[in-house]
Point group: C2
Chain length 430, copies 2
């Protein structure tokens, strides 16, 4: 079980941006009782907020979605790296959490995660040592990682051979299948099969399933995305059958994992292939938890046209900033920049506007755009013919594109209700 | 004085990337005694390191530079947000530290900074309240911020009027002068003078100097940059004379501040204008502390041609990652991504290479390039005809372009000597 301090940490102290200057550090469970309100000015801006109701809806919708499709969810934890959100995902019914490396998986285990899927290669002795130690410390936990080359496997085997007797239990691995021009993963089937045979032959590893990732190639155009997923998943399924024929798996139940956050509806039908072994299909989508106002919103428009009832995800993450200067017609500078909000896919998207003295926001006028950001500033521009222009002291909520690169800019975020009362908080461990 | 815990914090625990998995959290001053070595594999990668000797050289060179020019240094603290580095800058002789907002200034004050230049507008009541509280808590400290509009000033005055008697001392402000098409700052001289008169007339503020920022327009081409600086600084100097003639300053000594990290050699001669008041010229360059392998390296090439003896800054910040996969000819995936290293100006620059089993790095071969990054991966590419190709398990040091956006991705960094022994550590407060 997670230690209570880990899920209920102290929040605050010098440098905790967005946290009230005058407040002492507080345990997470003492935050709501402060009755802070974002729009009444109780917290300094910029401040990242998660809208509670949207978050709850997203957690519920996604879990229902995987349940309806007979697969499991191990959402990618690298998105949020938040113990509180991992815990919420597990409470909603997630089978496990995915991670990018051992340091992240450790946060998961301390947060109560029992099934850790490290969707990445591991080969450094210090990381392999840590997997052994974490398995011991967290009895009953599983830590699975990816293998995609004989060189990587040789490093894992060298580490294993160097351990004192009795050597640690074999590590559980998934064979990663990749696409030409892509990221990691075996490019050819013959390469994949050679590797699978070596995994079976050695004492250091146990092959428990297959993994791939389609998300890098998603376009949002259904026909292309469907063809992409079909091509990749058919290949993965065929490889699994080959591995079964050669008895290369060492598991009662196979893990079959794919799925980013862009086209996961196209992936799930492929996660339960007809094989001799029972199969646990594991979807890894991570960004659904807060969804967004940009990139994922656009992908979801395509998904809506494919799903009979549409998707049920809502943008839950906003970064509030103040207008600090309106130095030229059509230009306002906001007190948030590259330190505060995602800019890797596109500039943030003005979502709401709360004029000075108001406590109820309105939708940001059409035509408001962030044209650029510096480290600590955003350039908000609007057409000169627009009826509504921001003024110094106004507050603007920036919607985001790509949750991962906003989460990693905050050590805590306020969780708010519809009135922007702070009702909870989360921390991140980046 | 700073509390000892603040400069000597506990480092480690779940989620502290790059910190040895097995080590308990340690005080900063216990790190060196661990005798960890980066290239021996004692710390998980990715890991950000600061090269101690380069850091020390940079601190010394910059302080000597401002001393030689008769000006003071208040390096921008937003670059590092590191109490340990603020302390090192003060120890080297910095007059103060610049910040982007009140939350940052509080970190500075807790770190021992006495002169805080908030090079930004402040107008929210919660931030103004905090300035009053911080001045009280840190006796003898100064917190100065920028004003660039009558609307902002009206907000400061409304806040001041709403305070209970006896009202807080007037806040110290600098008049910010800006350029058309730029960021904040008064665009016209008449606007600036109207604002200065209102600052003088009110009880809430005390005008103690003038500020501007040339860095947004720097090109690295000396003739253009010289003309830019001359135009801006002549205007600022003339405005200061106008303010003197009208007796708008309320200070025995004026602060005159400018200077980013790109063309600061062109700025310093203008920071000591001939005025009736004594003037303290305050240069705000922040990135000199670690310098970089990209953008600032290129600006410095121009500076070298202007300075008789050249500049003495060295790239001190590297992010080490491991090669996790070499799935196609000419492509390696590294275990560092958008979470770990700057990508806002350009991709990171491979700087060093340490093959598996080696403990002494060599310069990264010419032709190695990072072509893209995902959240947790970097795509390292090299020409197929290159003699040297990385292999899985090798370590690569990524040089950075723009220190600010690498510092904000790490909660701690290891300080290393030439042999990559960890000799110290710093933390950041983003």
């Amino acid at each position: 079980m997670p230690t209570s301090d880990f899920l209920n940490p102290l929040i605050g102290g010098p440098g905790t941006k967005g946290f009230p200057h005058h407040a002492p550090p507080l345990r997470r469970d003492a935050i709501a009782a402060q009755r802070w309100n974002v729009l009444r000015g109780d917290l300094p801006l910029p401040l990242a907020v998660i809208r509670r109701d949207a978050l709850a809806d997203n957690l519920r919708w996604m879990q229902q979605f995987v349940r309806d499709h007979g697969v499991d969810l191990a959402p990618h934890g690298k998105t949020t790296m938040s113990p509180q959100l991992f815990s919420a995902q597990l409470d909603a019914g997630a089978w496990g959490i995915s991670f990018a490396n051992v340091t992240q998986a450790r946060v998961g285990l301390e947060s109560g995660v029992r099934h850790c899927l490290i969707a990445n290669q591991v080969m450094a002795p210090t990381d392999l040592d840590a997997i052994v130690a974490l398995r011991q410390r967290h009895a009953g936990s599983r830590i699975v990682f990816l293998v995609d080359s004989l060189v990587q496997l040789a490093l894992v085997e060298a580490w294993h051979s160097a351990q004192a007797e009795p050597r640690p239990q074999a590590v559980e691995v998934l064979l990663e299948i990749g696409l030409d021009g892509g990221r990691t993963g075996c490019r050819s089937d013959s390469q994949a099969m050679s590797l699978a045979r070596r995994l079976r032959a050695g004492a250091a590893t146990r092959l428990v399933g297959i993994e791939c990732y389609e998300g890098l190639w998603a376009t949002g155009r259904s026909a292309e995305d469907r063809a992409l997923v079909q091509g990749l998943m058919q290949r993965v399924t065929e490889l699994a059958r080959c591995c079964e024929r050669e008895q290369l798996f060492e598991a009662d139940e196979l893990l079959f994992s794919a799925g980013g956050s862009s086209i996961f509806d196209l992936v799930v039908p492929w996660l339960k292939p007809a094989l001799s072994h029972p199969v646990r299909g594991v979807l890894r989508s991570g960004c659904y938890i807060t969804h967004d106002h940009g990139s994922y919103r656009r992908y979801m428009a395509s998904m809506n046209s494919r799903l009979a009832c549409g998707h049920g995800l809502h943008a839950a993450l906003e970064v509030w900033a103040m207008v600090q200067s309106c130095p030229e017609p059509g230009l306002a500078l906001l007190t948030a920049g590259k330190r505060d909000v995602s800019y890797d896919l596109e500039m943030p998207i003005p979502a709401r506007w709360c004029a000075l003295g108001e406590a109820v926001p309105v939708p940001a006028p059409a035509g408001w755009k962030v044209s650029a950001m510096n480290d600590q500033h955003a350039y908000l521009r609007w057409p000169l013919e627009a009826a509504a222009a921001p003024r110094v002291g106004d507050r603007v909520a920036l919607g985001i594109s790509h949750p991962c690169t906003t989460f990693d800019k905050w050590r805590w975020m306020a969780v708010v209700d519809e009135a922007y009362d702070v009702v909870d908080a989360i921390v991140t461990c980046f």
